[in-house]
Symmetry: D2
Subunit: 309 residues, 4 copies
Amino acid sequence: MPCRSNKELNTMVISAKECTAKGKVADYIPALGKANPHDLSIAIHFPDGECISAGDVQKKFTLQSVSKVISLALVLMDRGRGYVFERVGMEPTGDPFNSIAKLETMAPGKPLNPMINAGALVVTHMIKGTSVADRFHRLLSFIHELANDKTINLCEEVASSEFETAYLNRALCFFLKQHQIIDENVEELIDLYTKQCSIEMNCLNLARIGLVFAMDGRDPQSGRQIIPIDVARICKTFMVTCGMYNASGEFAIKIGIPAKSGVSGGIMGSVPGKFGIGIFGPALDEKGNSIAGIRLLELLSKTYKLSMF
Amino acid sequence: MPCRSNKELNTMVISAKECTAKGKVADYIPALGKANPHDLSIAIHFPDGECISAGDVQKKFTLQSVSKVISLALVLMDRGRGYVFERVGMEPTGDPFNSIAKLETMAPGKPLNPMINAGALVVTHMIKGTSVADRFHRLLSFIHELANDKTINLCEEVASSEFETAYLNRALCFFLKQHQIIDENVEELIDLYTKQCSIEMNCLNLARIGLVFAMDGRDPQSGRQIIPIDVARICKTFMVTCGMYNASGEFAIKIGIPAKSGVSGGIMGSVPGKFGIGIFGPALDEKGNSIAGIRLLELLSKTYKLSMF
Amino acid sequence: MPCRSNKELNTMVISAKECTAKGKVADYIPALGKANPHDLSIAIHFPDGECISAGDVQKKFTLQSVSKVISLALVLMDRGRGYVFERVGMEPTGDPFNSIAKLETMAPGKPLNPMINAGALVVTHMIKGTSVADRFHRLLSFIHELANDKTINLCEEVASSEFETAYLNRALCFFLKQHQIIDENVEELIDLYTKQCSIEMNCLNLARIGLVFAMDGRDPQSGRQIIPIDVARICKTFMVTCGMYNASGEFAIKIGIPAKSGVSGGIMGSVPGKFGIGIFGPALDEKGNSIAGIRLLELLSKTYKLSMF
Amino acid sequence: MPCRSNKELNTMVISAKECTAKGKVADYIPALGKANPHDLSIAIHFPDGECISAGDVQKKFTLQSVSKVISLALVLMDRGRGYVFERVGMEPTGDPFNSIAKLETMAPGKPLNPMINAGALVVTHMIKGTSVADRFHRLLSFIHELANDKTINLCEEVASSEFETAYLNRALCFFLKQHQIIDENVEELIDLYTKQCSIEMNCLNLARIGLVFAMDGRDPQSGRQIIPIDVARICKTFMVTCGMYNASGEFAIKIGIPAKSGVSGGIMGSVPGKFGIGIFGPALDEKGNSIAGIRLLELLSKTYKLSMF
């Protein structure tokens, strides 16, 4: 990517911002409803340490579903592929992220993939540790390492707001418990899961994490292999096949970058071998993806020919 | 029905008992797994007070899904038809009793009918009272009146066994709560629901309750109208269209008696204007109905031409 | 039913007619779209030969789904219960009448019941005969006998309009053929089925047919048993559990009369042991039932306490 | 990929062949059932014209679902993206390739993607031409160009075998016609579609076609751009997200090469910028993919690090 200029990036942000008018901030989690729908910020982190950005890059947002990729990486490291994929599948699904119906029709309640809520709950369930606090601490430390920023923490307000209203996730958990996919106390799992979703950062942090995935798990600054190569590869594959909810197929065709979005409006992108992207734009399209964030990625992908395909 | 002889009934019980070999006692609720699969008892209660019976009629069993008809009657009396049917539908469904999939595909999470678990949970949710204890007491008093037996109570062992393992019902509750069909604390509702299911009686009691429904809600002994006529009629209609899980259609064709079964092996039957039936036979067929109980009802229906149709 | 007066019936028709404004004539079959939405006529046929009626009773309409009950009776007589119910189930379903989804999820493509299109196509497939013409002739003769009217015939215009546009029924047929539920040429089956649906009569005829079912298959005038008792009983049972599409449950509760409706606006009712009803009111509700026809039946059922339950 | 040796490839073929014992030749199309389950052949075609291979590379097989990618490319060239994606979606689905259920639940009958049968039928429907013969001729000419081999033709025996038994595809077509996604004569479309599926070639041909997709649509020998770059890219994206039926997600994770399989046992692979792969191994796994073919691709991908992710 030849673009290493904040100015060029800024022009694209201004153009992409126009479509925020057509989007809507998520309001099913009350604390998220307070976001400004017109916000749009982006950071691009290169392996040589350079970072370009545009928009109000200091604005913080919670990870929400973006966290699903990170917890998956941790759990694959903790448990190994065999263990993990006995409990959660690898197939994309045409259903919405919060669907429960397919758990019933597919044989014995195993979620289709780790990017839908049911699968992500199973992943979080597999995070090792002696308590919710301990498991959360391990996940947070992992994120500190990926982002190279130890100040990252959860947003208590969002965490408790989500914990209170996570009825559907509790339904999924009990369904999974009935089918013996998970065996932990549901309230504890929901506590850990909503904390995971409520980890807060800005787009600079997110771009840094995306960079580590892009570089096959290696921290390009320290040279340390934070995530094993094959784990990073698996995560990027899921980002392509199921990273953008049930708009993943269209995203792969139009944009072709491994990416994961969240309902807070965050998107993490990882252009293999090249750079990481962090975006925050809370106005969502009807599938739950940042409407301006997707537009911005489309502009970037077309301008700089970033599609993997 | 000309049969008023224990001996004739006994011959039929002996014949029907043969098929218990092909059935299986429910074991997903641990406490139910202890039942003797070869048990089969029946009582028939006439409006003139006569009661004929066969088998070990003193053996007790828990109501399980049979209780769904009784709680529906209570709630229709408590809340009125309009209120109740805004929250639960009237349509039979070809799905298994514990299915969650259709809650998702049908508009806004309203269960199809009060005889599937999702619908029954909504019904129990509507039982009036100041606390779980108070609401359970009201239901139990209603049953005392219907059965004319104040000694009936719940089986604590079954209640706590079910409470501990009711993961799927909790999943249904949280799904319903997400869709604002119910708004109460899920653990409290599960507590009340499992208590309701664990109310214990023998087939003589059950026949007495069936008789009240058969007589349009009137207690033929005291002459008191315990249930309003239209409520009794609604309950009998549901017994025909959805009383025997997803074997209700076949049951209506082969037997044609309003009836409701439970996984403990109980069946309550109400032959309109004629008599009530109570059956206990814990060996179940694959749809969850008492295998010998259905066989016995088929013999009765054919011999005495009991079908309504 | 004490009502034996055209005048009383006429008052009810006038009252029920008001709701035609909220209904809509079926237009997916072009020839049906020409009906007058404000039409409403009814005939009630008693076993003693008396017939009361109201509205323009000479107006003709095609049977459409009402024919499903009649072809089922013929096929049960032709083939026997065992043969028939190996090929079509007995269970109501909460799905729309033209749904194909459940054929896929339920084991091997057997339709749930003979009142949904998939099941009705299997039934028509089982009508015996050497050719489509011969099979249609047998069905028509059967209808002549039931209605005691040899002038009844099909409406060619509707038949060919339906034959041309029956894409969904062809989809169902090919699905059934794939799963070896049927093995005949699809175009021939569609030809026979659309002819069956296009048989035309007035509400007097339909009431006469409903009467035969009400009288357990016996023609009360000639004394002849046109349909065996158990076949008539099976048909009435299906009319209760699945006769009014996916509004059957509600109809059973509110009205409680065995009845079968069609998208042309016809409804045939059979009050067991009492009388037959024929209704024509082409304005339909959203489930595909005659909106004023249902209202009229509700008035009749409440006024004269006709519910079986 | 450093491997340019037939010998090395041969060793892998021998190793992969072992798992043919666990697979099964497709027999739902009678003519396919005659294949030898122990066959396994592969060809790899490089842009410089070199081609390495192993196994009986002269053995011919029909394209079946592999043809879906090629017809998609042709139709995107014929009609443009906008037109095509109004009629068929871009999303992977967790359902089997021949599923009809989701057509019903998703809004108005639009197939989820062009790799499931419903979507592929819509694609074939869009092939331009004045007659079936003309449209087939256009597709075949396109394949001649891609494979650089004008002798390729259809296998009449397979074509007529498939045409006769394609009941499920006819069901899908009529469903699509009902929902106005297609408007052509179903028998004609099935004729064209089964001809497309019955185009016969060997793995050398298939590798050559895979190479053109790998080189962004450019024929590396003639230098001609046979397929526009963006069309080639779209095709490769679908190969990743939905190319291996409902095992595509697992394939992407384990192997990470754009690939499309068919029930005849063919697999076409396109390693972007590097080479094309053609495989023939008729023993299938339970998802319908060549069991030894997948094993062979896994060996290749691991040995030479071919995953895109």
